[in-house]
């Protein structure tokens, strides 16, 4: 019996081990990548939230400071004379303001009356000038409370503050003896807000980042162990599958060998004997004709049995050649009345794995076409363009099928081969439509 080829394997052991390592490490890398993305999102989110919190806190601090200054310093020092713009009263308030109000974070103060006149400012050039009060300021001036906002430095009343950069202005109501309400406005550098934000962020960021990093440090080994176990489990399943395949291959090989060495040889002998005997019985033509018919029937059965053997176990592609094997493969189709067009380029220089893969795909495609498509024409082509790739095309004009639906029994074989093809660096395409035949193409490197 001839040496039978081994079915195509998904690469050498080194490649398999590397693939397994990749499969095992991929979830770990994905987990680490997801963790880093989460870390980045958390850092950005924390920064945004802490900036908001810090801004709110800084504004609240400024409001509290402004309210305290208004109640404790400004209001007790307010006099009618100041509101009436008496020079000496302004001087006295100015001394107080420069000593106790415009200190620390407070860069400027202004005191307005309800008509929009600046009663006092440490920027003395503004004193006595009139501007339009905004609605919020007027509401606080008349109704009490306090409010805060970014200074609009384009406004003319803020022209002397432009050199300070961004400013936060906070305003609250103060009351002159006699009951006239005024608006006390204090300006703070927005750098204070930014500094406060940085302080809050500085306090929270290490905690959040360290917590997530610690979480990743603890979970990555667990994920790695889990992935390793899953990988081992997958490898065990693969090993069992391979063992089952090999057992099946062995059984098929034994059956094919027994049939080839026994029944096929016997039938060939019977066929030859019948033909020879028929030639010797020239004087008895009727018996000779029957014997010749018997021999022909036996040869027909012998051919059918050989095709069956090809299906049961692949031929020795290296020894017999791919063309001969494919010729045997399509023989039953020709016998069934299908017009088969077979063309096979020279594949002697193509590596065995690629030839075996072409054979397996052709076997599945032809089998599917004959079983399910019931075509009248079939084309099997193996081409080696540029000696770089092997192209297999199996096309028929049969019933076809909907490629996106669940495959019928039989088409599963091709889809099952897809993994082997992908691992070999090849590509399998199946195009079909109901009533428009099927076209299976394989491309694999030589």
């Amino acid at each position: 019996m001839k040496q039978r080829p081994q079915p195509p394997r998904p690469g050498n052991p080194g490649t398999v081990a590397a693939a397994r390592r990749r499969a095992r490490n991929r979830p770990v890398l994905q987990f680490i990548a997801a963790g880093l993305v989460a870390l980045a999102v958390l850092v950005v989110g924390t920064q945004w939230l802490s900036q908001r919190a810090a801004t709110d806190e800084a504004v609240a601090d400024a409001r509290a400071t402004t309210t305290l200054l208004a109640r404790a310093v400004v209001q007790p020092a307010l006099t009618r004379a100041l509101v009436d713009e008496q020079s000496a009263a302004l001087d006295r308030f100015d001394q107080l303001a420069l000593k106790r109000l415009v200190v620390g974070d407070v860069l400027r103060i202004k005191i307005w009356n309800a008509r929009g006149r600046i009663v006092y400012s440490d920027e003395a050039r503004l004193i006595g000038h009139r501007f339009n009060l905004g609605a919020e300021e007027r509401a606080v001036l008349l109704g009490g409370g306090s409010d805060a906002g970014l200074s609009d430095l384009t406004q003319s009343e803020n022209r002397y503050e432009r050199s300070f950069g961004r400013l936060l202005e906070v305003y609250t109501q103060v009351v002159v003896p006699g009951g006239e309400p005024l608006l006390f406005e204090a300006y703070y550098s927005y750098d204070t807000v930014s500094r406060r934000s940085a302080e809050v962020l500085g306090a929270f960021r290490p905690i959040t980042v360290a917590a997530l990093l610690l979480f990743m440090l603890l979970t990555v080994p667990l994920v790695w162990v889990l992935a390793r176990r899953l990988g081992a489990s997958a490898a065990e399943r693969e090993r069992l599958l391979m063992a089952a395949v090999e057992a099946s291959e062995g059984e098929r090989r034994r059956i094919a060998r027994d049939l080839h060495d026994g029944v096929v040889q016997d039938l060939a002998g019977i066929s030859f004997a019948a033909s020879a005997t028929a030639r010797e019985l020239a004087d008895r033509p009727e018996v000779a004709r029957r014997l010749e018919k018997l021999g022909s029937g036996v040869r027909h059965s012998l051919r059918a049995l050989r095709s069956l053997l090809v299906e049961i176990y692949p031929p020795d592609l290296r020894t017999e050649g791919l063309a001969a094997a494919l010729d045997d493969l399509v023989a039953p189709a020709s016998a069934a009345g299908i017009e088969v067009n077979l063309h096979v380029d020279d594949t002697s220089h193509v590596r065995d794995e690629a030839v075996a893969l072409v054979w397996r795909v052709a076997q599945e495609a032809v089998r599917n076409a004959v079983r399910h498509g019931r075509p009248t024409q079939m084309r099997v082509t193996v081409a080696v363009p540029g000696d770089l790739v092997v192209l297999l095309e199996v096309a028929d004009n049969g019933a076809g099928f909907e490629p996106h639906t669940v495959p019928r029994e039989g088409h599963l074989g091709l889809r099952g081969l897809r993994d082997l093809i992908v691992e070999s660096g090849g590509r399998l395409d199946i195009s079909s439509a109901p009533g428009e035949g099927t076209r299976v193409t394989l491309e694999v490197a030589t």
């Binding site: 020079s87 000496a88 100015d94 003395a124 006595g128």
Partner: protein, 129 residues
């Protein structure tokens, strides 16, 4: 006639005293400085200079006696803006007070007063800027 001469002489003497008591001193274009004599032997000087919406006011009393305590006041448009105590010192027996007050709209009258309560000597001067 004698009476007329006598009255004219008194008027001229009074004008001369006034000229001696309060005379403009050398100053920069933006500065206004006045100086004059106090009620006894001391002299005073006051200077005002505009500065970004304020006036830099400098009041000085020179008594030639070291260790005297003087009570001083700065008046702004006729009302007391600030007050304090100072002691003469240095070789000239003088003191100087420097303060900044608001430069209000229109002209500002800055008065300078100093009293030595031990001797009863008073100094009165001022500038308009």
């Amino acid at each position: 006639m004698h009476r007329w001469i006598s009255r004219t002489s008194v008027a001229l003497m009074a004008l001369g005293f006034a000229a001696t008591a309060s005379a403009p001193a050398m100053a920069n274009s933006s500065d206004v400085t006045r100086q004059g004599g106090c009620s006894h032997n001391a002299s005073w000087k006051v200077k005002a200079k505009p500065d970004n919406g304020r006036l830099e006011v400098e009041g000085e009393v020179d008594s030639n006696v070291r260790g005297q305590t003087w009570h001083w006041r700065i008046l702004h448009d006729g009302r007391v803006s600030m007050r304090g105590k100072a002691t003469t010192g240095g070789r000239s027996g003088s003191f100087t007070v420097e303060r900044r007050i608001i430069n209000t709209r229109g002209s500002d009258r800055v008065g300078w007063r100093a009293v030595n309560r031990n001797t009863g000597e008073t100094c009165r001067g001022g500038v308009t800027i």
